[in-house]
Amino acid sequence: MTLLSVEEVTRRYRLPRQALWSPPPVLTAVDAASFTLEAGRTLGVVGESGSGKSTLARMVMGFERPDAGRILFDGQDLAALPPSALRRLRPRFQMVFQDPYGSLDPRRTVGWSIAEPLRAAGAEERGKVAEALDHVGLRPADAAKYPHEFSGGQRQRVAIARAIVTRPALLVADEAVSALDMSVQAQILNLLMDLQDELGLAILFISHDLAVVSSICDHVLVLEHGKTVEQGAVAQIMRSPGTEYTKSLLQAGGLL
């Protein structure tokens, strides 16, 4: 079943004017990107900084509207939904960011932060925070602790607990393991795969690291300056990259 369908999506930004009378230059951050993501599957989006991968993530999350094209989540066009309907849909798709320290309120217990999406959705909280902590390999008692009491890897577990507490169908992970040590990275990648198996999550996995993508994703989309230069099965692209850009990403990651 197709959960997420991105159709010819384009997003442009107006840059600061360079001369008073000339029109401001326009940057096309994402240029006619298309893909579909099935329920329970993982799609990787790879590219360098500035390739448009985070812009794509923000559009999928409904934080930004595309200038052209449509994003259908469960058949509903995100940009066409009124804000109240988007809010109602929010518990079904959640996001994990690169820096868990920046995305957790340092003055609130992690239990409070994990319950945030439930409160936003007006849902019952009892028991769900403990359950989410259990899912990510932390103890229910950890809910009373503050973010600084955790290591980097544990904080990312907390961020994942918050993202899954509403039992979403889609998780958007933007560089979710990039800041972690290699050994912790492996633990978090395994956790994401476990959660996917248990909860049937679909994951949109955004990363600059093709090695990481190859370990967790079925399919991959390669972005360069907003343009999709290649997409297909990970194994296929790793074996025979179709563009010089993909090849350079593989080489840089020590994979070729």
Partner: protein
Amino acid sequence: MIEAAALTVDMGAGQAVREASFVIAPGDRIGIVGESGCGKTMLGLALMGMVPDAGHVSGSLMIDGIQMVGAGEVTWQRLRARRVAMIFQEPMAALNPIKRVGETVMEPMMVHLGLGRDAARARALELFREVGIPDPEARLRQFPHEISGGQRQRVLIALALACDPGVLIADEPTTALDANVALRVTQLLVGLAARRTMGLVFISHDLAAVARATERVMVMYGGDIVERGATDEVLAQPRHPYTRGLLSARPSSGNMRATGGRRGRLPTIPGSVPPLAELAPGCRFAGRCPVELKVCNGARPPRQGNMICHRAEEGA
């Protein structure tokens, strides 16, 4: 030339670096790998005389023939930047946001080398060219926020090279960068070490970068150098259980271990690096080690050849 013998950094709560011994000769390129909290950065700071106040340094550290353990700040100031220089983590935090980057690079030359403004400026320009910054004249006048992450890292390298150091310590120089940019920065550091016959200490948890940048490597866990050797050999045939764990946790499709009908998972080292106060008294890796013996938790493992491990004789 740096010679460390039983160099130890005691933080009160525990030893962040325990009896590290090694030599860095001109032109040597040495990697230090390990997880966060294993003492890599603290070792780098010890080589710069910049251990936090709470820390106590003991053992021996000779820099160009001068004993630096117990040396005062005045002695260190004469050596820092000229003999040893460091590129710190987080390029954005290491540059003054309200200063033009040219000024930042000129400052150490005016302070340490006594150069005048014009001479310092000329040399800054030369350094920007050497580290491959395009349009260097314009760059000198820019502020840190106006330049990209990769260029910022090059500015920091130029800054570290300002006083022509004999040894350059690079702490996670590629961690915050895209793979392609990281590759170019690594190549730049290797080239600089060769051209200037400068020692390079490359601290990183990125094994691919360490493989490219260094000839020798030291693997640190819990403040101990648990394994060392030629980079190629250690990465191809790791012997210490910790090194093996680190290498096998590297994400890649070829590394996955499938179990019981599920799709593959990555091998991991169970648990995480404990805080200093909770480190095992014997082998630091005890508690997370897959091949642990009874003796491991109590007695300190002997150093045998290139390894500190109770099972070194059996080849772990």
